[in-house]
Amino acid sequence: MNKRNLLTLALATAAIAACATSPVDPRPAYSESDLRQMDAVHRRDFHPRGIAKMDRFDLDRVQRACNQYKDNPPEDLAKALQAEQIGAIKFPQGELLGDWKKGQKIAQSGRGMTWSDKPGSANGGSCYNCHQLSPEEASYGTLGPSLKGFGKLRGNTSEIQKYTYGKIYNSKAYSVCSPMPRMGYSGTLTEEQIKDVVAYLLDPASPVNR
């Protein structure tokens, strides 16, 4: 290695070392006044369109805490909020396994909840936008973990069914600042639809588990 290469290497190493200790994350921890500013700016500069009304800017306690603490609220608060969110899940009576074939369609569909979606039309779960599910589907996102073989790995007990239903209904009940939308809590998917997606994930006959 000649002198010049040594020098660039030294500079590069120094640059990395200098940065290792300084914050690189530009995400703010929102103060009370930041939250008020965000609320005011969104209400001033955005307008309702179609089904997307202005009440979508009403932060609930979970959204508030996740903004304040950069998705990592203090343990006590996180526990209290998770308990609240668990309590907000409406578990249906009886069977939680629906029809995996219907579940597959719901997992594929990215429709629903945008201002261009017609009121009353069936929503999808947008599952494939972020997760791998069936190995037969090549077009899947990677924002969430792969769920390939979800049921094969976990079995199909009533506890697993309940967890799966709850996680889809309200992801924040299990991880308070989960990046995943609360599909039941937000009114995106119906009880029937969530059961179908549960079947898509857990039914041994579903392509997810084959």
Binding site: L9, I16, S22, Y30, V41, D45, H47, S116, S139, P179
Partner: protein, 270 residues
């Protein structure tokens, strides 16, 4: 701002040592690059630029005037190199304006058009194109090759940058999303679409330097205002106002994060 300068250093450092780095997903990357090159070669971007230039020079509105005397920040009528300094603070409106809001200002002041009339069709489709999007293609194209150099020296500019940063990370809406939900982590994708981390230079530079862009999927030139609008739609938010302060602030945040990157647009996207 310290964090960004710092991460720029890391990028340089990484570039210097890249030869010894692991070859990750090289094949897949090469295939995508090949596709991007292919669609860029067949891209009709220049036709949109020409059409935009025609509209820039066309006399219209109650004052029967063209936009040729529009001051995009470098003086009345100077188009060359103006785009890479936008958004910027304008004294006459006492506001930070991006390209679209500045064009709107000129349509109102020079041509005497009402805001309502000038914003009737801000986003076009293949059947009915938008005047705004043609104009954006022309003005941006006149900065090709110039490094992006957006200032935060004026207090209103630094305020817009700070507001944009806060808007970018703010979680809200029906699905608890922020911009960072999709653009916050390295190496992620929605379906097959790769997602750049727009809050850091490594992601912001290639993305910002290729907007506005021709979109093959809807055969249209699309502005940055449209890009932000459609992101918010998919975030399940209400709709942002066209050229509103919020959208300008977000553009400011993305643009400043992309500073120093040579402008290569208008780009061509899938």
């Amino acid at each position: 701002m310290h964090a960004y300068r710092c991460s720029a250093l890391v990028v340089v450092a990484a570039a210097l040592t890249i030869a010894t780095g692991p070859a990750f997903a090289q094949d897949e990357k090469r295939e995508i690059e090949k596709y991007q090159k292919m669609i860029a070669e067949g891209s009709p971007v220049e036709l949109f630029e020409l059409e935009g230039e025609g509209l820039w020079k066309k006399k219209q509105g109650p004052k029967n005037a063209s936009l040729e005397q529009c001051d995009l920040g470098l003086g009345a009528g100077v188009v060359k190199g103006a785009f890479v300094n936008l958004p910027r603070y304008f004294k006459d409106t006492d506001r930070v304006e991006d390209l679209e809001s500045r064009l709107l200002t000129c349509m109102m002041t020079l041509q005497g058009r009402s805001r309502e009339e000038a914003t009737k069709r801000t986003f076009g489709n293949a059947d009915k194109p938008s005047e705004m999007e043609y104009l954006v293609a022309f003005v941006a194209g006149e900065s090709r090759g110039s490094p992006i150099a957006i200032s935060t020296a004026h207090p209103k500019e630094s305020a817009a940058y700070e507001l944009g940063r806060k808007l970018f990370f703010y979680r809200s809406g029906a699905w608890d999303f922020s911009c960072a939900s999709c653009h916050g982590e390295e190496g992620k994708r929605i379906r097959m679409q790769e997602l750049p981390v727009l809050s850091l230079p490594a992601g912001a530079r290639p993305a910002y330097s290729t907007w506005p862009a021709y979109r093959v999927s809807n055969s249209q030139m699309k502005s940055m205002q449209w890009r932000l609008n459609d992101c918010y739609r998919q975030m399940r938010f209400p709709e942002p106002g066209f050229a509103s302060d919020a959208t300008i602030a977000l553009t400011m945040f993305l643009g400043v994060t992309a500073n120093d990157e040579p402008y290569r647009g208008p780009g061509t996207k899938r």
